[in-house]
Amino acid sequence: MPRFVDLVNPDLTLIVPQLIILGVALLLLLADVILPKAKHGVLTWMSLIGLSAALVVNFFYVGVNETTFNGMFRADDISVFVNLVVLAAGIMSVLVSSSYIQNLEEPDSMPLAEYYVLLMFSILGAMLVGAAGDLVMVFLGIEMTALASYALTGFARRRMTSLEGALKYFLLGLFASAILVYGMAWIYGATGTTSLDGIAAALDSTVGAGNLEASLLLALLLLVVGLGFKVAAVPFHMWTPDAYEGAPTPVSAYMSVIPKVAGFAAMIRILVQALSPIREDWVLLIGILAVITMAFGNIVAITQRNVKRMLAYSSIGHTGYILAGFAAFGVVVPADDRSISSVLYYLLAYSFMNIGAFAIVTWVQHRGRGVDLEDFNGLASQSPLTAVAMTIFMFSLMGLPPLVGFYAKYYVILAAVEADLLWLAVAIVLASAASAFFYLRVVVAMYFSEPPETAPEGNTPMLGFGVLAMVAGTILAGIFSGQLLDLAQNWVQAFPVVL
């Protein structure tokens, strides 16, 4: 049972990164009211500074592994890594968005402040999921992230696709949440607690080997369906292409990462922490889901001619790879278990390269072009650096060394192989081989096609800096992956795994 004593004096020192983000969000609201419109560029800097500060503070929590607020909140090595991913992704999202928003500022005002506030809440939500010690907390965090995402999706003015994408995303997400919360309710019914550790302990004492109670199985299935939606696993992925395409591109960039990270963090908290005693019943399910997802995402992406849609399907494919990491959970002794560290590392890798790819799309759009494959024609001759950056992101997404995408994929395969899941390893390899088709198509368009007559023009210093940072991340996080992997491998210290 969780201790109830510390309820009177919650240890606020454990939630400093979250408090910083909350504070920044409130300050942004305040600044929106106080500052004149012309000075709203300051908001971008406020967001960046806040996120960076939280990122720095976050590193003080490595190896802390404590809980507060009645066990509902955890500062452990998983939350540290999730925070790392989310905050890094947040910084990149701000960098990508700022130019876009300024660009649209001219005729009538884009609500810059609300944009950043929603972004901050969304980041906060994902951080809360990562630090959750309780089902309710997981749910709150997920919803906070999701709600902000729904609103952000509808941010492009004058484009019906934006609102349309928002509506679809929202309604389907609502459904997913309902299913998720229902699954949680069944878990609560079966174990009498919403505390993650408590659930694990209760299951450990009641569950016999192999034969799962129907009520628990039901709960498990509902949870998997609900979480499957949040991470866009096939067949619960339908909202993704519409929402990604409809949303303003910087929002797509953010949306393809942060809510997804929240979803995967929830999977770690619910499936790995709380439901590890019944892992026998879910690993295979997740494994199958992983294979379907990666196969489907990568095959369908091949035909897409719209780059944003292509990236949406590709992100479904990456969901598949990440799920494969979960499927490898709990086979070997915890100290050697790479499953969850592979998931965490993959999330970090994915956020660099995926936001990077969307950033280039933003860059191209910003210069008056569209988002179809033809719009990338001849980019290499007109803007060689941009083309090189996009090539790096495409190669990394494809999983080519020495870029971060390779190490991430490799690590997942390694986890699968070490868990004796050879079929899964081979599936990943085949799926990623198929992915070469569509990623390369972009590269070929950039290098081998005649450019349009007008050269792209525009001035986006922030975006350029962001792209540079992401290129550096994509290369460096790969070459120096040793340290990051060690950090991710700390997950085994986050909680005692009950098997």
Binding site: E143, M160, E164, G165, L167, F170, L171, P241, E245, N306
Partner: protein, 115 residues
């Protein structure tokens, strides 16, 4: 009564689902509202019904009079009611926005993102 409520909730769900499958965004809102009611009632019922005292501790006593209703689901539902209201408000505004932008309330006309 549990049994009757089970059927009532089933009926609410069916009506809600039927409505969200319509093409009109207005019907969609009504459907969502019905689903919200159904979900709250569901938690309430699933947690166990008693025609008992509310979970209130009388003056001068330390614990509630037995039998009293289970306080925890009530707390959860209270949260749920408020949140579902928030969500519904958001939906309504979003739908209004969509209607203004797209100029139709037919969901089938809203497939510009899919080609």
């Amino acid at each position: 009564m549990d049994t009757i409520l089970a059927f009532v909730i089933g009926g609410l769900y069916a009506a809600g689902i039927y409505l969200i499958l319509r093409r009109s965004i207005v019907k969609l809102i009504i459907g969502l509202a019905l689903l919200g009611q159904a979900a709250n009632l569901l938690i309430f019922t699933a947690a166990g019904l008693t025609r008992a005292q509310p979970p209130i501790v009388a003056e001068g006593s330390e614990v509630p009079i037995n039998p009293s209703a289970d306080p925890l689901p009530q707390a959860l539902i209270l949260t749920a009611i408020v949140i579902s209201f928030g969500v519904l408000a958001f939906t309504t505004v979003l739908v209004k926005r969509v209607y203004q932008t797209v100029g139709t309330d037919d969901l089938d006309d809203m497939k510009a993102t899919d080609r």
